[in-house]
Symmetry: C2
Subunit: 160 residues, 2 copies
């Protein structure tokens, strides 16, 4: 196990997201919450991790605004963890991860998880499209350049 480099301050949206989401536990906790988990024991049972580690991870995610802690009982005081808007919007990342794993990691029997879209009533997977034209997004048609929040935004631009 090696110390992870802190990439939150890198001038790259992807590196920043990796810093917040890249320790594995975060995405697993958001996955569980997306499937209905709210209480410490729900997460603990699902992930099978030590209570100390779970306490630490949940506290960090509350601090980062992915979960909000809400009291659901006064005597004794008990809390549950609900996804914030920031946390709920991690869903597209989980959905594209599931699509990738189903394509590249599923065994001969197929996917362990089937996703169903209730609006069209079909089993499906997530695909990405361009927010502007709605067409399916292919890597070769996407160019990256420095944005307004890049430290060198005023300099000549190139991909970071």
């Amino acid at each position: 196990v090696t110390q992870r480099t802190r990439t939150a301050d890198w001038p790259c949206s992807i590196a920043r997201a990796i810093d917040e989401l890249g320790d594995g536990w975060t995405l697993l906790l958001v996955r569980d919450a997306s499937l209905g988990a709210r209480r410490f024991d729900d997460f603990q049972r699902s992930l099978g991790i030590g209570r100390n580690i779970l306490t630490d991870r949940l506290a960090r995610l509350v601090e980062r605004g992915v979960f909000a802690k809400a009291q659901y009982s006064e005597h004794p005081p008990r809390y549950e963890y609900r996804l914030t808007d920031k946390g709920r919007e991690i869903f597209p990342i989980l959905a594209t991860m599931a699509a990738w794993a189903d394509r590249w990691m599923a065994g001969p029997e197929g996917s362990p998880l089937t996703l169903h879209h209730t609006e069209c009533d079909h089993d499906m997977h997530a695909e990405i499209v361009c927010s502007e034209c709605g067409e399916r997004l292919e890597k070769r048609a996407v160019r990256a350049r420095r944005g307004p929040g890049h430290p060198a935004a005023s300099a000549a631009s190139a991909a970071p």
Copy 2:
């Protein structure tokens, strides 16, 4: 730093993807390769990590089929690392991560990275749609159930 739990064998597509992609380095290396990096020194310069760690990570990703190692010089023998189809298809995950980070982590100046879609010639971000109906995918309209590759596929189904 705590030991990560191995989730590759969990009956959940998301947990499997996290196991392959969740150590942070993998996604950063795929990001660099997507932006044109191919050689050891390219990755090393971009990420600023020790050569031993980088050697180890690249070897692991070759073993997992994310990168293919190709010799580009015989005397002296030199190799470069190219994304495989499996590696190239990580792009939707990176694109949804970038969209999330730009929405939730960008400073007041805006995103450090601007993505441009050459087909429609607009700056844009990635959105997810249903593979079957093409409509934008909202979390509340997605249900998860056990798939054919779930160990308990023959039992009564419920979300994993």
